[in-house]
Each structure stands twice: as C-alpha cells, then as structure tokens.
Homo-oligomer: 501 residues x 2
C-alpha cells in the first residue's frame, strides 16, 4: 500500500498551489463562497525551508523577550492558509492533521466563515463585546437555537457559554456542587450559618464536596479543573490541589480482539474502584457530587474504554446520586463520526452535563433542567462567552449539515485507521496500538524520543502532527479532511517512518 | 447646581439623535473615522418605552427556556449603539455609565475599532483562532509590543494573555506557586517524589501553599479565584474552597478628612492582621506564596484604602517573601486617571504581577522576569487569549494617546465627583460616601432596596448604572465620557433622586 500512496504523494506535490499562494483575494473568494474545497485549497504540501524557518526563528527570538517560547512550534501566516493546509511565515505549506490542538472545525479560512466577515451587519458584534448575562445582543437567543441547541446532547435543552474549556469545566463543577447541596437541603435557600461561612471559605457554606476523576484524564488547567487533571506532572507540579478521589482508567491491551477477556476484567476492576472511592470519600466527609470523564482520554494519550464501560459508569453515578459530566472539549464537534463522542454509547440518558470548547469555537456546557441554579448570578462572569463565536458556530453547523461532513469523517476515518494498521504492520518495531473513532485516531511510537523525532521529521516533509500521552501521536484533522488527504498524509508519514532508524 | 444641570438635560434631549438612529451607515462612517465623537454619538437619551420594553421581555422569555435569565437587564441593539449611548431592542437610547460591567474602553462602535473590521487583511484573524502558545500568527509579537507592552506596569517586560479575568488570576496564582516552590527548592527540577505525587493531587508535588486575600475582595469565580473572592454569599455558596487566609480590608469612615486618625488606626490594624495571618498560615504548613489585592475593591462596594496602606502592604509582602499580585481587572485601563490604578501609590516597585481583563479587551497578566517558569507548558492552554483582542487593544491605546483620554478622564472625574458631592448634600437622607478616582466613582444609597429602585428609576429616564457591594452604585463610564456627559448624567440622576421618597 505504501508505494501506491507514495506515487499519489508525488503527484500531489506538483499542483496548483503556486497560483493560489501569490493571491490576496481571500475576501473576494469568500464572497463567492461556492467554490468547492478542492479548488479552494492547495492539493499538497510545499516546503521551502526547514521548519521552523529563518523568519520563524527571528520572531521566536523577539517573542522570547516577552514570554516563555519553549512550547512554540513556528509562526503562521493564517491569511495564506487554506482548508487543511497551514502556511508558515517562511512560506512553507503543510497538511495539518493537528489543527490548532483540535480546535479548527472546517479548515482555515473556510469561505462560509469568511462570508460572515464580509457582511457589514455582523461587524459591530466584533467591536462591542457585551456582558451577555445582563445585556445580551438582539440575536443572542436565535444564535443559541441555530447553533448550540441544534446539536444539544440527548436530554438537554439548556446551555451556558463560557470563554474557554477550563472555564467551562470550572463552571460545570460549580453547577454540580450547587445542584448537590440544593438536593441535600431540599431547597435552595441557605441557612444563616451557610451564608456567613461561605464568604470566609468555610463549611457548611463552602462544603467539602468532591469531583471524582480518572488517572490520565485532562479537564483543564485552572485550579478546580487541575484537581481533576492527571496527565503529566509538569502540568500540576507546585500547584495546590483539592483532595478529590482519582479512579484508575482502564488500561486496555491491543489488539483488542485478542485481549477481550483481560480488557473486560480490567474495566470491571476500574468500575469497582470507582464505587469503592465514592463510598470512601463519603465516609471521609467529602461526598462525590459528580464524576467527570472524557469519552476518549485525549491529552492523556488517546486512551479508550469500551462503550460498555461508560454505560456502567453512568449507572454507577446515578446509583450514588452523583452528577455525570461528560467532558467533550476535545472529542465533541464531529471528529469521531458522531457529533458527540458519547453518542456512541447508545444510551437514552448518557449524561447530566456535557462540556465543550475547541471545535465548538465557544466554550460552555449543556445541562439538564435540574442543574440550573434557581437564583441569578451563581454561574456568572463579565462576558460568559462571546456572541461572535456563536455566530461562527452557526455557520460551521450549517456547513457540517450541507456537506454531510459527519459521513465524510466516517469515510476518511476508515481510510486513516486502515492506513495506520498497514503502517503498524510495516513498521512493527516503531509503531503499535493504532486506534481511532472517525478521524479521531492515534498510534503509539516505541518511545517518547522517537515519537518526537518522527513528528519533526514529518513536519519537514509537510505534515503537522501533535503528540499526546508519553509516546502517542494524535490525529485531529478538520472535518473537511477527505479520503485523498488521508492517503496523502499516510504517504508522507510512511516516508518519515522509512527514514527513522 | 441641580437646576442648571436640569436645563442642560432638557436641551440635550432635543437633539440630532433621530437623524442618526435611522441610518445603517456604520461601516461607511467607520471608514472615514475622523469625525469627532460629538458628531458620531447622539447628544442625549431618548426613551420610547419602559425598560425592559416589550421586545426585550419577549426575548427574555425565549432565552429563559435556555438559561437562567434572572440577572438579565434587557436586550441590546449593539449595531445602533454609539459612543456613550447604548440602544436597546425597543429603540430606547440610554447614556451608559456602567459600560458592560466596566469592559468597554472607548464607547460603542468607535470608528477606530470599526476600521479594523473594514480592513480585509485583518479578517482572517477572526476566522482562524490559533493556539497561540504553539502556533502564533505572524504579527503576534508586534501586537503585544504595540499594545500590552506599551502600557506595561513598572518593572515588567513580560505578559501572558488569557481569555478572561478569572483565567488571568488563576494562571497568575499558578505562576506564583511555581515561583515560590522553585525558590524553596533552589531550582526548577522536581524530585521523583514530587513528580509522582503531583499527578495524584498530593504533597509534596501539589504543596499546601496559599494566597492571602482580603474581605470584600473579588478576583473571579473559578475555584482558585473564588477562594480569594469574599464579596457576596451567593457567589460562593455550595462551592468547595481552599483554606487560604483572609485579611480584613480597611473600613474607612467618611468624610475622610474628618476621620483621618481613626482611618489610619484602622489601616494599621488590617496590616498587622496581614502579618499575623502570614505567620499563622506558615505555622499551619500552608505558607502564603502570594498576596492578591485590588487597588480599589470594586465588586465588593468600591472600597478604598489609602495609598500609604498599599505601600506598606507591598513592603510586608516583600519582607515575608510572598509575591504581590495587583488585580487590575476592573481598575486598569485608565478610568482612575492613570492607566493603572496602582500607579497612584507612587512606588518604584509596586507589584510582582498585575492581572487585567475587561477594558483591556483581553485577559492576561504582566509579570516580572523571575515569575516566568523556566519550563514549557506550565502556564498553557489551547488558545491563551485571542490575537484579535490584541489587535483591538492596540487601536484603543492609540485612541487613548491621540485623544489624551487620561486627561479627559481626570477632567470628567472632577465634574463627576463634585456633582456627586453636591447631590449627596442635597439628598443627605438618601446618599452618602461619594468617592472616586478619575471617573471611577461611587456613592452609597441608604439601603439595598432604595439603591435598586434608584437604578431602575434612572434607567427609565435614560441612564444605565450598576450596583456594587450591598448598597453602592458604581460609575464605570467609558474613557470617552466627557464633562458634558457628566453634567447630563448628574442632571438625570438628580431627577431620579427627586422622585425617591
């Protein structure tokens, strides 16, 4: 297979990109907005320098005077980027299968999104950012209905927008705590003692409640979220944490079909531990008000558990009166082939709350009616999201529907995963554990160093990838990543692998 | 004075607003961009209905199906709003002295900001939101230098942008904890024990460090910030909190000149308590890594302490090796007559970190060199701010400079505060404790109910105000609020007061 792909790659490299690259007619292009993606974007990478190139390195040095730049990859020319192709300031054009840490839903400069910018009626929304909790713009409700509510998870008719993923989870946790205490009290009116103690950080006003999370889970980096994040030490080191219970997440053995029995046992063990922890923390006086989990542990290494595991976990939450919060910040928005990854579980009542950000362009969380505080200002801040992000999201959802992008994701995902299986068979000393749902795929490299080398090698060949966990590569292409992009990617990835010792 | 103002108000109400209101030529207006504010905005309020009007009420009912709407005031027509005037969906045009909870720096639809939207080269920045920590846009450094760094507080050459005020403080706290532990260790490399324990929320990896805050302080609503927020019970009730020390904030008696001795004693008492708490929490095994404070407690009721109090507090922080974080989320950006409120203290080394948001349009924090973690990804998230907000801020700063808006603020502030003194003398049974720096003014009403009634009464007469604390009204006009706006405001406020029983 690899040689077939390699030919396709060579063909792709002699393409029409040159003629697009010189142009500045992005807005005009957007105004017509009807050209197909294939005409709009280049048909393959074109590399001019090593990455980062000299211009990126110059800019990096300047930025280093202002910030820590050790995490910086390179500087980008977003104006010149198109569809699945990211262009850097040195003029290198790369196929992007990482897409700004999984946060670009339909590619760079999509004409549908650019057309929002060319409608004069929309522009004042960008200039006047409102305090949406007090003074929302006229179209606020309409855009929520058009956008977020049109893809609301099962059982949820309510949503609160927030600025980013961490804020979304922080506020979802708060919603859970308020719900839990209201339930305990039987009503929402605090005692005088609760009122007084809450202001000075003490119980019973600030009760010792907890959120149960999983080893390897990632839910953000602010102090509440960080107490539920357990991926890398560097993310948590030196920061005080709440004493909240952490359950083991199943460590599945691959290939899955060979280890069905062992994996089922492993999942049972983890679920038992969840129940033990709930009982233990209740006894400790820190009851588990909620459980938070990702449908696929992304940052933690693209770790999967079976749909059955999640169904049983949801039942455990219900049995113990804990809220069940599904964190779809990275998995949500269609990349798994369904709009929400938790839909794969096939449950009628899969969650009490679902948080999102990244590809949804706005942060926020959906919630069941009972999770709405019955007093104002309990979940509140100055901006609570940004109506312009809701406006973009409405367009994105239209494009997803019109272009049947979820079907596209399933087709491309099939190519991606089969291609990864092939490469893993071809390079068994380097690759293992190819896995994925839709285009949300990953593969392990033999060790961290090789993983990092491979990513850099592929980048210099024109593919932008990202790592996760200790030794995985995660693939997070946009929803407009088609079969031919997958073939092209696999071919270049094969080239990079062939050069690895 | 009040009768003079009343005449001015009547004159203002028969103005040219009608001719502007019908127009849709905002973008065209913006393109010319050189008209003065006085031509651009209406010259007075014009009310068509009670507020909220029937259209707002309809929209509120719809939104109520999606969110808690008890904090909602009314729906706005941001496209029709101009300068200091906010227009609602029912066509009411109101003088806005609250400005989206102090977050609009130079008024609605300022031509300089609209002109950003009419430059085709800028538009792709809105459509492609980058992961700035890894893949910043070409102009990222330049916009930081043009913008945030051009107004960096004394002693700071570094800045990290964030999405909102809460995230800014959360990450500033993390920066403080990392700095403190690095200092304790003598280097930044963790022991194996720290590495292992950090991932599971335990010491020594997640150490028991604390941030000292003040009663009445407000620093945001996410779980770390909320542990340092002590304003209203409703904001904190039911949410778990860190056990961090809370010092008393001086309760000054007004008029200040009559109570100089008592107030000095009160401030000494509070400073002594700060030192006691630092020693006590050190003994408790939860050392105070940092102190966070607002230069004026805004949300908590516009509470002031003397500049001398802050100078002494800064010295205490230094003496005990605690970082000193000044939260300028609400005070920053010029409303006090200086760009940062802490500049009033007149210190060479006023702070180690300064956080901001609101009028700065982007969240973030400035920090001294020693507060930069020497490893990547310690302060990190997907977006880390938004380059389009930096772009707007650069324009805002240009306007502030070109139009000498800080001088304007001082002049208008003088009118405002003197006007509030006059009204307080005229309505001593209703008003007290008029206070302010620049246009950042406040006044107390006799009780909470009367305060809330007065705000609604004034709103129906065409002025949008906001409350703070239990019984205060805070004035947070934009920097383009001129003397004549202040006169007009005072006149309408006087009308509302005259109708209060």
């Amino acid at each position: 297979m690899a040689s077939r792909l390699y030919c396709r790659c060579l063909a792709a490299r002699s393409n029409v990109w040159g003629s697009i690259q010189g142009g500045r007619g992005l807005v005009t292009q957007a105004a017509t907005a009807k050209r197909s993606l294939d005409e709009f974007e280049p048909s393959g990478p074109r590399m001019k320098t090593a990455v980062p190139g000299p211009l990126s390195l110059d800019l990096q040095k300047q930025l280093g005077e202002i910030q820590n730049v050790q995490s910086l990859n390179f500087f980008c020319d977003y104006e010149e980027s198109r569809g699945n192709y990211l262009v850097d300031v040195d003029g290198n054009c790369m196929l992007d299968v990482y897409m700004q840490i999984a946060s670009i839903p339909i590619g760079y400069n999509h004409p549908a999104l650019m057309s929002i910018m060319t409608n004069p009626r929309n522009l004042s929304s960008f200039v006047n950012r409102p305090a949406t909790g007090m003074l929302p713009p006229r179209s606020f409700t309409e855009k929520l209905l058009d956008g977020l509510l049109s893809v609301a998870p099962k059982g949820m008719k309510r949503v609160q927008t927030m600025a980013c993923g961490s804020c979304s989870n922080e506020n979802a946790y708060k919603g859970i705590f308020i719900w839990y205490r209201t339930k305990q009290r039987g009503h929402s009116d605090p005692t005088p003692e609760e009122t007084v103690t809450s202001v000075i950080n003490q119980a019973p006003g600030c009760p010792d409640l907890s959120i149960l999370s999983f080893m390897g889970g990632f839910h953000g980096r602010t102090l509440g979220c960080l107490s539920t994040t357990h991926t890398k030490a560097i993310q948590k080191l030196d920061v005080p944490s709440f004493d909240w219970p952490i359950a083991p997440y199943p460590k599945l053995r691959y290939p899955l079909d060979q280890y069905a029995r062992e994996n089922a046992q492993e999942e049972s063990r983890c679920l038992e531990e969840v129940e033990d922890l709930i009982v233990k923390w209740e006894k400790k006086g820190k009851p588990v008000a909620g459980i938070v989990i990702e449908p696929i542990q992304a940052e933690g290494g693209d770790n999967y558990a079976s749909f059955d595991f999640y169904r049983k976990l949801r039942a455990i939450a219900k049995k113990h009166g804990s809220a069940f919060l599904v964190d779809e910040v990275q998995t949500g928005g269609g990349a798994t082939g369904l709009f929400w990854a938790h839909e794969h579980w096939g449950l009628d009542d899969p969650a009490d709350m679902v948080s999102f950000s990244k590809k949804m362009l706005t942060g926020g969380f959906f919630y069941k009616d009972e999770f709405q505080p019955d007093k104002p200002m309990r979940i509140f801040n100055t901006w609570m999201g940004d109506p312009t992000r809701n406006m973009f999201l409405s367009e994105v959802l239209k494009v997803i529907k019109q272009d049947n992008l979820l079907d596209q994701v399933k087709r491309t995902g099939h190519v991606m995963l089969n291609g990864l299986y092939d490469l893993q068979a071809r390079y068994p000393h380097l690759l293992s554990r190819a896995r994925g749902l839709g285009t949300f795929c990953a593969i392990d490299v033999k060790d961290e160093d090789s993983r990092n080398k491979l990513i850099l090698k592929a980048r210099n060949k024109g593919v932008v990838m990202g790592g996760c966990g200790t030794q995985s590569i995660r693939f997070r292409p946009a929803l407009v990543f088609k079969e031919h992009h997958a073939h092209l990617f696999l071919s270049i990835f094969n080239d990079a692998l062939a050069e690895m010792k």
